[in-house]
Symmetry: C2
Subunit: 142 residues, 2 copies
DNA sequence: AATCTACATTATAATAATTCTAAACTATTG
DNA sequence: CAATAGTTTAGAATTATTATAATGTAGATT
């Protein structure tokens, strides 16, 4: 979903009614320079800060999952104890900063194309994604 | 942890008392040909099948996390709704079968070495792992 | 071998994340 | 400006996981 686009139109395109809660969530999620990686908790906090009237927790869950189903968000698994979502819905690689627990997209050019030499018989490859775990250089990080 | 090794000794080595529950769990986890990928639920089922006396759920959780802390198990994140563990504790790549929800280790030779061209400034790379999502070739799989 | 003690197991309760429910609300259609 | 289908909401229910505290046991000490 591009920055500053017509969110009402974008929601209609996929059969979602452009309610004020959904439009507000679009603004918070997509009106930014870079890809946004967040947990439900992050999003709830952000929304309550940026809104006069708060959006119910159930609605945040409903809407995030509705956006995911319609291809406007992607769920990312890095830490099994936390559910991350990503406004970049294409297959792409990540750095995960183990100090800050921050997820960062890799640039296309940061990682050479991955070559899968042998696949499971009878299966087709849906996606190939790399996770690079990084941590502070100096400290005695595990 | 190698197959058919002295589990009592292996537990003592890392300061874990070789109780009958822990030894039984070692047998179930490590006495197998291939790497074992499982959820807590899988393991609980397996244990109740293979044992006359059942191991309490709390003990399964405690023990899995104790083994993880001691480096005998590794937690893997593929699906944020489910926690997978892996008896192969080295950094390695996986196929994930989206039809069966099965995790399969890649052979060293299945994937060419990953070349990270640019890393985050001031951070060191702890691990680089690839997840290849596969699904049935024929069916109209998403 | 009996006793001691720190650690482990267990059933159960507590917590946390997520989903469900059903009533009130609202965007769209006619 | 209804009618209606879809949406929001608070709160209850469910699920996975962790905490609690009583009981049990491995390994050490006598
Ligand atoms: Mn989900
Ligand atoms: Mn864990
Ligand atoms: Zn991303
Ligand atoms: Zn593995």
């Amino acid at each position: 979903m591009p920055k500053n686009c017509n969110f009402i139109e974008k929601l209609r395109e996929v059969g979602l009614r452009p309610t004020k809660q959904r439009v507000k969530m679009c603004e918070v999620l997509y009106n930014r320079e870079k890809t946004f990686h967040f947990t439900i908790n992050d999003l709830v906090k952000l929304l309550s800060e940026k809104m006069n009237q708060k959006i119910s927790l159930a609605t945040v869950y409903n809407t995030v999952h509705a956006f995911e189903k319609k291809g406007y968000l992607k769920e990312i698994s890095i830490d099994s104890h936390k559910s991350y979502f990503d406004t970049n819905t294409s297959a792409h690689h990540h750095f995960f900063d183990e100090d800050t627990h921050e997820l960062i997209d890799c640039d296309e050019s940061d990682i050479d194309k991955i070559n899968i030499r042998k696949n499971i018989t009878g299966k087709k490859i849906n996606s190939v994604e790399v996770l690079v775990r990084v941590a502070s250089d100096n400290q005695t990080q595990k």
